[in-house]
Symmetry: C2
Subunit: 469 residues, 2 copies
């Protein structure tokens, strides 16, 4: 008996004293620990932890798992955010917008597209778009996006260098495409000026932790073949993404058919523009053969259901695109046409629209819509290794959403509620690159009051400018 | 000089002392005065007062006008609500829902309609729908509706007498249709029991200031011809509305074609059911001839875009209906399919959906969508003389909406923002029948915490019931 006791004593001794103490050895320093809540990872297996945790170190996710394991993980966290009764999601990714157009929010709605452009948008932009305007519009868009849980956006506009500075300062991630077009633009009056400007922009922002500079030839019908080729060469030189409107409206299809006797997608294929660096926005008017080409060329797609509906552009063949496993994400388009930058509405619409068009209530499920808004948009932007899901090693772009609202109660299925019932106003916290940008609905990197005041000043300026000749 | 002075003195004397003092004589006692804000009347001329007022006495609107006139109106108000930076609107009218189905919110989404009904909804209802369930579900729906600015709703369900008591207690206006159907229902197992129950319900609630009792034969394919005729006779006897699902899905059209060799609308016409007391919900599958008949019979229509999209029911010919000046309003349908009872989304969808379907961005304007959700739904329910607009003499059903949010800034056109950008969560105050039900987003007639707790208890009960055989 005594002998056994001695052996036990030795074992205790060895384990407890001589070996390093487990609780000390395994201490892991983390910057931020999100504890509790339903963690919807959007990883390949669609894992949801009903009561999970996310550990963040620096700008990356160190670990994600079941909160029951938390004690054994032995984290020492600088900050802790409790997420009880909340959903913890990867930040939403808006794959297509024009952020400064928030200053033209809803200008001239419900009119014919050509009338809308020529009577409202073009004159308003010609008379108002300056660097200061772009600052004000970008800040307003950032306020709205952070409040609604959008952590990354892809933009096509002018003065993208200013948009980059503003976005970086607010702590948001973005792929920013300086628009080049065969017309004088607010920032550059000639093509050569625009290309020079863009090259400088690409060089300046290359390798930034938040901003990916890109070139955005406006569309196949507004940029000549040789200019499209020049844009491609510039993108290749700087390994930059190409953002382009593609096959959006019937007028574009008609233009390309008349000029090149082909379709917009086939035209871009014929000139060698399609590749894995391309994100096509809208992509409404394509058939199965063109979808196969987009797949083969690894092109990303930004589906914009709100905009396509409101502007009567048509219905993108999303069910076929999903079936072909295209890189398809969601975008809001600009606030001038869509009125807001609300990704929750795009998810809801994407799920509902294609059920109606195909007359099949099982297509574009809530899970597929949520994937499109997260990892789908990440894939469309060819950034799926860095963002779009809550997985160890990825950038810490995470949002929290309050699940306690009446319109979310009761809840039989979290994902269908996220798509069909949750609202942007249910988002409570927004984290990008490991940094908290909104905490309990309070913005931490932008002064909302002054942003709103500047926006209202531009409202008056734009209104006055449209009254004058 | 002195003489003039004397004359002036006399004038002052006469005006100021002998004549009754203007400020006293014209004093108008009112119960509630809403001052400031953009008052969107939705009257026949579409008048909007950019800085208006609404005076309420008892349950009715006494006056509406420009706040600049306010001083001369000399109101003495028991309560005043300031509406600066807000929109003041007629309360929204949800023309079709099933309020207790909030307890099945989002149950079994994204599946085929028949599977959804037989695998989820029918078993869940068979095992759970009691009078207590209906109380819990009605309260939950009322919380959501009041918070989102819905002041009147039209319902089709069971135990409508209980729904009436709960709705009345919460101070909300409703047209409540006790559902009669050729199957055993949760409240009545036979047709005769259901008719007896309904007659008692119609008699009991007739003439109530908030509740209009109605009979709701479920649909042309679930109620026999003789039973539909019996329902009509009962409605006529009590001068009650008839609420009925009509031409919702292709399966219904097929059933009626097989059985009666006609369409659902023509079938109801043939048996004399269509009249000005009828509200048809959905009305998707009708042609121009049927629209003409619905117009001739003065039938009301509840357009439910969310539900029709999500369940792949089809697209109602809304542009043709508006052109024919049909009595057309908007409804959410039940929260089991639609996930929420959000009229702002129905407006947004109605405006966008028909632009896409017709490929014309000028149809179903924001103003038409807002009309559908207010005076349109009132017309559909044949209550346009009492509700649906802010006009003197009408019931005081009014909501206030905060216009200061980032997603509503800047604002070039109030009405397009209301439809394309405003959210249910922007509603701050809800007034029905002159009584304030929500003030600064705080509910005054319902205890939200206990309502939510009861809903969560039912979530567990329903989930458990679906696990058991």
């Amino acid at each position: 008996m005594k002998r056994y006791f001695c052996i036990l004593l030795v074992i205790f001794f060895v384990c407890g004293v001589f070996s390093p103490r487990r609780s000390d050895a395994a201490v892991k320093d983390v910057d931020l620990l999100i504890v509790g809540g339903q963690v919807v990872t959007m990883n390949g297996q669609g894992v949801i932890y009903p009561n999970g945790y996310v550990a963040i170190r620096g700008d990356r996710i160190l670990e994600v798992g079941d909160a029951a394991r938390l004690k054994s993980r032995n984290f020492r966290a600088v900050s802790i955010i409790r997420a009880d009764n909340k959903a913890v999601l990867p930040g939403l990714i808006n794959a297509h917008t024009h952020i400064p157009m928030t200053l033209l929010r809803g200008l001239g709605g419900d009119v014919d597209l050509q009338e809308w452009l020529t009577r409202y948008i073009f004159p308003a932009e010609a008379k108002n778009v300056t660097r200061d305007y772009v600052i004000a519009g970008t800040r307003l868009g950032l306020v709205e996006m952070i409040r609604g849980g959008t952590t990354t956006y892809a933009d096509m506009y002018y003065f993208e260098d200013t948009i980059a500075s503003e976005t970086k300062r607010a702590g948001v991630r973005a792929i920013l495409g300086e628009t080049v077009i065969d017309f004088p633009a607010p920032d550059n009056k000639t093509w050569d000026e625009a290309i020079g400007f863009t090259e400088k922009f690409l060089r300046q922002w290359k390798g930034d932790s938040l901003i990916t500079p890109a070139i955005a030839p406006h569309a196949p019908y507004t940029v000549s073949t040789s200019h499209l080729e020049e844009a491609r060469r510039l993108a290749e030189k700087y390994d930059a993404p190409i953002l382009i409107h593609l096959a959006e409206a019937a007028t574009e299809t008609e233009f390309i058919r008349t000029k090149f006797n082909t379709t917009p997608a086939l035209y871009l294929e014929s000139i060698g523009l399609l590749s894995s660096r391309v994100l096509g926005a809208h992509v409404v008017h394509v058939n199965d053969d063109e979808i196969a080409i987009l797949k083969k060329r690894d092109v990303g797609i930004a589906h914009c259901p709100s905009s396509n509906m409101k502007l009567s552009s048509g219905t993108a063949p999303v069910t076929a695109m999903l079936k072909a496993d295209l890189r398809i994400g969601l975008g809001t388009d600009g606030a001038a046409s869509n009125n807001d930058l609300n990704m929750w509405e795009e998810m809801d619409l994407a799920a509902k629209l294609h059920k109606l068009v195909t007359m099949n209530p099982t297509v574009v499920t809530a899970e597929e819509a949520l994937r499109m808004a997260t990892i789908g948009s990440a894939r469309a932007l060819h950034l799926e290794k860095e963002i779009g899901s809550i997985e160890a090693g990825k950038k810490a772009d995470i949002i929290l959403l309050d699940l306690s609202a009446p319109h979310l109660t009761p809840m039989y299925n979290l994902v269908t509620h996220l798509v069909y019932a949750a609202k942007a106003s249910d988002v409570t916290d927004t984290i990008v690159n490991g940094k908290v940008l909104m905490r309990n609905r309070r913005l931490l990197t932008l002064d909302q009051a002054s942003v709103m005041a500047a926006a209202r000043r531009y409202q008056k300026k734009v209104s006055d400018s449209l009254k004058s000749k």
